[in-house]
């Protein structure tokens, strides 16, 4: 992809400033409608998820005490993997977004939540909520575009380093939580001398403490607990496999959010003086969804509704599914493309981009995928003059 502003066929050329403002008003109305109906059933939902996750974790860890016995090893490992995925995705990510702050439960609150991950909540909230969600897909502002180790857009300059990016991406997938911690630490920025040394060292200490606690739990005390039955090795392995499974899963889901074909990027200058409507429009075009079952949606923390999540990052995740048809309707009415696909398709598309863009643009162009079918522009826009500053 190329930044939307530089494209030959600009997908928003048919929208006037008034259209974009109207779009913003429609989206605000959807947001208000969800907020005014938030209530006890939503609260019951998140509490139930938390309860299930904790029960599953305790149960799986208990089963792993006998993991010398193979079926116990399998059941315990699968259970612990699912519990760790739930904990990071449907619970941790969403609670730290403030999606449940409205309940005023100090335990399920963005200011107090800490998650089962190498990256401390405070660092993650800064780089994710504050930077990524504000500057979504803006080249040079949103580091999630390639995490600083990959080129995922034609407009990011190629260097030979990127030839290895399929390998970097796979390694990052296997150690994803540590990748996130390194990313949240802004290590690259630090080495370029752009990050305050004191802040970096304070953050580094936080990460060190967090990793030590995580490692002690998963790789020392729980295996020790299983030692009396002679299961310590299997328990250690089960913890490792669960963390690996979660790393691969979360990495795949997150790649699907902004890397698949059809997702738009934006130039740095394009967000100067951006209105609320324009911000919404950028979120709509800069994100991609995943189609699938209810279980899949929960396992992705409803990030399969990435478009809805990016429009309304602080609405409860269980509501994204409910508003998705309304959002899709807005896409249709405004002649915009709602990028969505099955999990294998989106993961494949994202990986293709990582592989293709490891090459310089002139070579990458030879393998360019066929563009997805763009949404038809409704008649009412066709007569309107194209937006003057669109090109």
């Amino acid at each position: 992809m190329t930044a939307l502003q530089k494209k030959e066929h600009n997908p928003i050329a048919h929208l006037s400033d008034q259209d974009i403002e109207r779009l913003g008003v429609e989206l605000d109305a959807i947001r208000d409608q969800v907020i005014s109906t938030r209530g006890s059933s939503d609260a019951a939902y998140i509490r139930r998820v938390i309860k299930v996750q904790r029960g599953l974790e305790m149960g799986s860890r208990a089963v792993l005490l006998a993991s010398r016995w193979k079926p116990a090893f399998v059941v315990g490992t699968v259970g612990l993997s699912v519990s760790k995925i739930l904990e990071n995705m449907e619970i941790g990510h969403n609670v730290m977004h403030g999606q449940w702050d409205w309940m005023r439960d100090p335990k399920i609150h963005s200011t107090t939540w800490e998650w089962d991950n190498a990256s401390p909540a405070s660092l993650w909230k800064h780089s994710h909520n504050e930077l990524h969600h504000t500057y979504t897909n803006v080249l040079g502002r949103d580091n999630d575009l390639g995490y600083g180790i990959m080129r995922v857009d034609e407009d990011q300059r190629w260097s030979p380093f990127y030839l290895g990016q399929p390998v970097w991406n796979f390694v990052n997938a296997c150690f994803f939580e540590y990748g996130i911690a390194a990313y949240d630490l802004e290590i690259g920025k630090y080495f370029k001398g752009k990050k305050n040394k004191e802040i970096f060292q304070r953050d580094l200490k936080k990460v060190g403490v967090k990793i030590r606690q995580q490692m002690t739990k998963d790789y020392v005390v729980h295996p020790l607990l299983a030692a009396p039955t002679g299961s310590w090795k299997q328990t250690l392995l089960a913890n490792y496999l669960s963390n690996l499974t979660r790393n691969l899963w979360t990495h795949s889901v997150i790649m699907c959010g902004h890397f698949p074909e059809g997702v738009e990027t934006f130039t740095r200058k394009s967000i100067d003086g951006e209105t609320r409507g324009e911000w919404y429009l950028r979120q709509m075009l800069g994100s991609a969804n995943i189609n699938g079952s209810r279980a899949m949606h929960i396992a992705t923390g409803n990030l399969s509704y990435q478009i809805e999540h990016h429009l309304f990052p602080d609405l409860p995740s269980n509501r994204y599914q409910e508003i998705a048809p309304q959002i899709r309707d807005i896409f249709n009415r405004y002649g915009l493309t709602y990028t969505s696909g099955s999990l294998p398709r989106q993961v494949g598309s994202a990986w293709m981009k990582v592989i293709r863009l490891s090459l310089p643009n002139h070579l990458a162009a030879k393998f360019a995928p066929r563009p997805r079918k763009a949404a038809p522009v409704p008649l009412r826009f066709k007569t309107a003059a194209p937006k003057a500053d669109a090109a």
Partner: protein, 365 residues
């Protein structure tokens, strides 16, 4: 040996052992405290939040009920006359209100609630035995004197609740109790604890009871001492407690001042800091930690106002999505600039980047 330890005896209380054990257990459960897992089996186990389970709900009048709790282990027994904050969840949102405890000192806490306002109405109408409520430790100086003294209790409406705790604590247990209770209520059906008070008065000479039904007899006047002289001739020699509507408290306070006995009167006040909604919004913002004040209109975000005044405030996206700017509202009322909704809950965390003042506001930054 003891001297080497410098006199401070090492006592491992039951609580100490328990908290040490929980700390040790946290290596298994990090980043979450172990109590969170214990709560799957014990609903009262909680590391940060005191809870109680409702053990009885007794209707008192057609619009009020007494709710008794068994509190979690960190509850400190209350003194007679104290109050506690009680939290319930209404439509998924946790709401807190303060209530006087009506149970005698040392007993399980109970509140007697009249169905006025959202939280109280919810408590009276919806609470069931077995429900979990949130609690904060008991507080307040409206308590019995240290030594035995003749007492006068002047109460009106639900103002009797803290006094009821005092009477239940004192009258049945102390032979030397000497209490005059003058309780005002609209009529007999609206009056709280009538039967129990009459039984207590019949059984214990230490309690003298005066019921004043204001529909028939009118309110007690504190403009001069006439009413009091009739109802309790020796009122000047008694330590007095007043609890009721604000006008009554003010009038009683003024009378005691005029009589030159202000020290013998103890007053319990509620609802002192209700922030009125200001049409059009705006007002004075006080940044408590930075000790700065600014006057703003109803459309300026609190964050901007603070920054312009030189207050260091947390900030992030500046458009209400990232929640980096959450700041506790100490008092006052703010308006969410996106929805127009107003918030006035003390201690609530607000997003300063999309909130404006709707009247005077105090912020914790």
């Amino acid at each position: 040996m003891v001297e080497i330890l410098h006199g401070k005896p090492i006592t491992l209380s039951c609580m100490g052992v328990k908290s040490a054990a929980l700390r040790a257990m946290s290596v298994f459960t990090t980043p979450i405290p172990p109590e969170e897992y214990l709560r799957l089996v014990n609903p009262l186990a909680s590391s940060r939040q005191l809870r109680g389970v409702v053990t009885s709900v007794t209707p008192e009048t057609p619009t009020s009920a007494t709710i008794t709790f068994r509190p979690g282990s960190r509850w400190q027994p209350h003194q007679a006359g104290q109050w506690a904050r009680v939290g319930v969840e209404i439509d998924g949102v946790r709401q807190w209100r303060s209530y006087s405890l009506s149970a005698p000192a040392g007993a399980d806490p109970a509140v007697t609630v009249t169905a006025i306002g959202r939280v109280s109405t919810y408590l009276v109408r919806n609470t069931k035995v077995g429900d979990i409520v949130f609690l904060a430790p008991p507080q307040g100086d409206f308590v019995l004197p240290a030594g035995p003294r003749p007492l006068l209790m002047l109460t009106a409406g639900s103002g009797i609740t803290p006094v009821m705790s005092m009477i239940r604590t004192l009258v049945p247990r102390r032979k030397d109790a000497d209490v005059v209770l003058v309780h005002s209520s609209r009529d007999r059906t609206a009056s709280l604890f009538t039967d129990e008070l009459q039984e207590l008065a019949a059984e214990h000479p230490g309690l003298h009871l005066v019921h004043r039904y204001t529909t028939d007899e009118g309110r007690i006047s504190f403009a001069d001492s006439g009413d009091l002289d009739r109802l309790c001739p020796d009122w000047r020699s008694r330590k007095a407690y007043v609890c009721g509507p604000t006008e009554m408290l003010d009038a009683a306070h003024a009378l005691w001042e005029r009589t030159g006995l202000p020290d013998t009167l103890t007053v319990e006040r509620f609802n002192t800091a209700l922030a009125p909604e200001v049409p059009g919004g705006g007002g004075q913002i006080t940044f408590e930690k930075s000790d700065k004040q600014v006057e703003v209109d109803g459309s300026t975000p609190l964050l901007l106002a603070g920054e312009e005044a030189g207050v260091i405030m947390p900030s992030g996206c500046r458009m209400g999505i990232c929640r980096t700017c959450l700041t506790p509202l100490l008092s006052g009322r703010i308006r969410d600039l996106r929805t127009g909704e107003t918030h006035d809950d003390e201690g609530e965390l607000i997003q300063t980047c999309i909130s404006a003042a709707a009247g005077p506001v105090h912020l914790d930054c």
